[in-house]
């Protein structure tokens, strides 16, 4: 016979005001196997826990039910106390009589609360009777991390992990790391130059002995589980042998062919077909754009190979598949800008002098297409009036996205300043919906743009943008003065919405992490677990999770890195033993569980006879991969699988105790 102890917590008055805890305790005494019951004011207090330990020892209890708050609050506390008293922690169960009883049934006569608490506690006692002692399991851990994405968030995460002494592989899709931050001119609110603060970090990363940098590469396949991921990376053929290339740039200089530059945002800006995306690229190794290179299209040219001193050009290079084993993954794939051609009223794509905010960054950048001079794309004239339109696509549930892109208010204010600093007599106008400048020194920055730099802020939407006599006419509303305005501008800059990176969903599916309706990756908890995903061992950093600015991205990169480091600081992984278990005597190898398992944790295992021949097949659970959801258990038609901690027996015991 079981020897169970029941403690009913009063939680001060939180439970006791609507539940007669003493009565509940007395009722429980009637249940066979219950040898000790008591109600107490605060079970979670140090005194309460001591009491529990003392009673366990004195009464030689083999199981404990604490009827108290939600198990999400103090299950761990009480299980630890039990463990300290020499009891297996999984022989302790919680009956939730606070969140799911006393706090939601306000009957002051205590009748309702007492009745329900009695039921809930009884169900828990019956369940506990079927609880088996369980042991946490240890699984080995590969102390090497993979960072996907080489923007500022990924760089920061990789650097932090490498600095603490663990190996890191950073995979970047483009030929260079740096991400969007490399495209920016100056950054708010300090106006320091983006590349000046970014490039030292890029170099530091590439020189770090613990970092393996794989640029022009993509993650193709991810298998395994926390501590033991197997990752396949496709290293696209650069057509340049990295070990030989010195980065002299001769090939680029002599290459006679050009294609549109992705880095310069706007169509019409060219780069060579053998190229590095920007002068400070890391690694400083060019790649051949095979889609545009005549050598690959019609086997003509081949100049780059001729001029290359160290003979680093290799036209026959093939994509390489690299397989790596890592213990943790940081996803930092960043964002794209929403294509805004469909917003007809703004004329983007139709009117040459309507540009995106990112293009304006390139115009203002000293290394940009105009060498840092603000010149409009159509005729190269210095624009004397520039209109900035905010919320293009953002906060527009009908045609764009309902969320706020978060950085546009700040960068538009910055753009007006950059413009004013470069074109002193110029006038900037900003059409805005609201100014969102929450952040350290952010609002002061916007005030400065308005009050000191003379930007005119108009609260309202723009209804149409069209060309007239070489000007771009912007018609809109100024809702504060209640008037219609028409501005003869030379250039219009659109603050387009931030959207998830193209291919974000496909990558999420490869990784087995979840994403929201837009394609931004889901954090495990919006407040308390902001950089973890619901897949153990995979962490998030930067704008792949949602719009955020550089400081936030960097903070997240470091946060994700610290999660990885704390994971790696352990000898091996300790896992809750809530795992599926196969009874191999009953398993008939129908593989329903194999197909149902979301984690590929079911393995097909051959049972062999004495002569080594396979007698039959059975399912086996990989304890490292199993997350304990129990989908396989409900799928199993021969009832061969059960879930430890939530066995059929336990559930039926609880149901049986209903009456």
């Amino acid at each position: 016979m079981a020897r169970i102890g029941v403690f009913v917590c009063q939680c001060g008055n939180n439970i006791a005001s609507t539940v007669d805890t003493q009565k509940v305790a007395e009722e429980m005494k009637k249940i066979p196997g219950v040898v000790y019951t008591q109600d107490y004011k605060f079970m979670c207090s140090a005194v309460g826990q001591e009491l529990l330990k003392k009673v366990v020892k004195e009464h030689r209890l083999d199981g404990i039910v604490v009827a108290a708050c939600s198990p999400h609050m103090h299950e761990k506390t009480f299980r630890k106390a039990c463990e300290a008293a020499g009891l297996n922690p999984y022989r302790c169960e919680i009956a939730n009589i606070r969140e799911q009883c006393s706090w939601v049934h306000h009957d002051k006569t205590k009748k309702t609360g007492t009745l329900k608490s009695t039921d809930l506690t009884r169900m828990t006692i019956e369940r506990l009777k079927k609880n088996k002692p369980l042991k946490t399991i240890n699984i080995p851990l590969k102390k090497k991390a993979l960072v996907i994405g080489g923007g500022i968030a990924g760089i920061q995460a990789a650097l932090d992990i490498a600095e603490s002494g663990y190996e890191v592989i950073l995979v970047e899709k483009e030929p260079s790391i740096g991400g969007h931050m490399a495209q920016l001119s100056e950054t708010f609110p300090t106006m320091d130059c983006s590349q000046c603060i970014l490039t030292p970090k890029m170099v530091e990363l590439s020189m770090h002995e613990k970092v393996r940098l794989l640029t022009y590469s993509e993650v193709e396949k991810v298998e395994g589980y926390i501590g033991n991921f197997r990752v396949q990376i496709r290293k696209k053929a650069k057509s340049v042998i990295e070990d030989l290339c010195t980065g002299c740039g001769e090939c680029i200089e002599k290459c006679p062919f050009k294609a549109d530059s992705e880095f310069e945002v706007m169509k019409g800006h060219k780069r060579k077909v053998i190229y590095v995306p920007f002068p400070q690229a890391v690694p400083n190794i060019p790649v051949i754009d095979r889609e545009h290179c005549p050598k690959f299209l019609k086997d003509k040219c081949g100049i780059c190979a001729k001029v290359c001193g160290p003979k680093a050009i290799d036209y026959s290079q093939q994509d390489e598949i690299i397989t790596e084993e890592v213990g943790a993954i940081v996803v930092a794939t960043g964002y794209d800008l929403m294509p805004v051609e469909s917003f007809g009223e703004y004329g983007y794509g139709r009117i040459k002098d309507v540009v995106s905010g990112l293009y304006f960054e390139r115009l203002a950048s000293a290394s940009g297409p105009t060498g840092g001079e603000i010149r409009r794309p159509s005729d190269g004239k210095v624009p004397e009036t520039v209109v900035f339109i905010q919320c293009v696509g953002s906060r527009d549930p009908k045609r764009g996205v309902p969320y706020c892109s978060k950085i546009c208010c700040m960068y538009s204010a910055k753009h007006t300043m950059l413009y004013k600093h470069k074109v002193h007599h110029g006038q900037a106008y900003v059409f805005y919906m609201d100014i969102r400048s929450g952040g350290k020194r952010y609002d002061e920055f916007v005030r400065r743009a308005i009050e000191e730099e003379g930007a005119v802020y108009l609260r309202g939407r723009v209804s149409s943008v069209y060309e007239r006599d070489g000007k771009v006419i912007v018609e809109g509303a100024d809702t504060l003065s209640g008037t219609q305005v028409e501005i003869e501008a030379d250039m219009v800059v659109l603050a387009t919405a931030i959207v998830p990176r193209k291919g974000a969903k496909e990558l999420a599916q490869r990784l087995g992490i979840s994403y929201d309706t837009y394609g931004f990756y889901n954090e495990s908890h919006p407040k308390l677990r902001p950089v973890e995903t619901n897949t153990a061992g995979i962490f998030l950093a930067g704008t792949c999770q949602g719009p955020m600015d550089i400081p936030d991205s960097v903070a997240q990169g470091s946060a994700a890195a610290s999660k990885v480091i704390s994971l790696f600081s352990r000898e091996d992984l300790v896992r809750e033993p809530i795992l599926a278990e196969v009874d191999e005597r009953v398993c008939n190898a129908c593989w329903d569980c194999y197909y149902a398992c979301p984690y590929s944790a079911i393995e097909q295992h051959p049972l062999k006879g004495r002569d080594g021949s396979i007698v039959r097949w059975v399912a086996r659970v990989n304890e490292g991969a199993c997350q304990g959801c129990g989908v396989c258990v409900a799928a199993c038609r021969s009832k061969a699988i059960d879930l430890k901690g939530y066995t059929d027996e336990q559930v039926y015991a609880a149901i049986n105790a209903l009456v």
Partner: protein, 142 residues
């Protein structure tokens, strides 16, 4: 044929991550709802064997509720989809067996939807009440 003072008994099978946490939040927010529900927590709705529901009816439940994470939000990626598929088939089976479908409910309640939980419970209890005590099944089980 309602008994005097009869109140329905509802068993709710909920997942640990969304609905259980949502029900906890209802408590933390001190919302009030009808008390005739008994929650049984499982890691995931995908763990729910249809036989649990049969058993609950056998043991005197007048109505059953299954609730988990919204589609796409499952802590275990796809457990709730398995639950949904099973549920659709199982519901048809119950209907075929002549069980009043006012007794069986399925819903998604996230960890932040305390209000939805409260309204859901009140609604389920009302609906089950309108179906009356589940005598038919109990008579099979003397």
């Amino acid at each position: 044929m309602e008994e005097k003072g009869w109140e329905p008994r509802i068993v709710a099978f909920v997942c640990n991550w969304c609905t259980y946490a949502g029900a906890d939040l209802a408590g933390t927010s001190r919302l009030e709802y009808r008390p005739e529900v008994r929650i049984i927590k499982l890691p995931c709705t995908g763990r729910i064997d249809p036989l649990f529901i049969i058993k609950a009816f056998e043991k005197g439940a007048d109505g059953v509720l299954v609730s988990g994470c919204h589609p796409g939000d499952c802590h275990y990626t796809s457990g709730n989809y398995h639950a949904r598929r099973r549920w659709i088939v199982f519901r048809e089976l119950l209907k075929f067996a002549g069980i009043d479908l006012r007794r069986v409910h399925f819903s998604w309640v996230s960890a932040s939807e305390a209000l939805k939980w409260r309204d859901l419970i009140n609604e389920v209890i009302e609906t089950v009440r309108s179906a009356g005590p589940f005598e038919a099944y109990r008579r099979l089980n003397p």
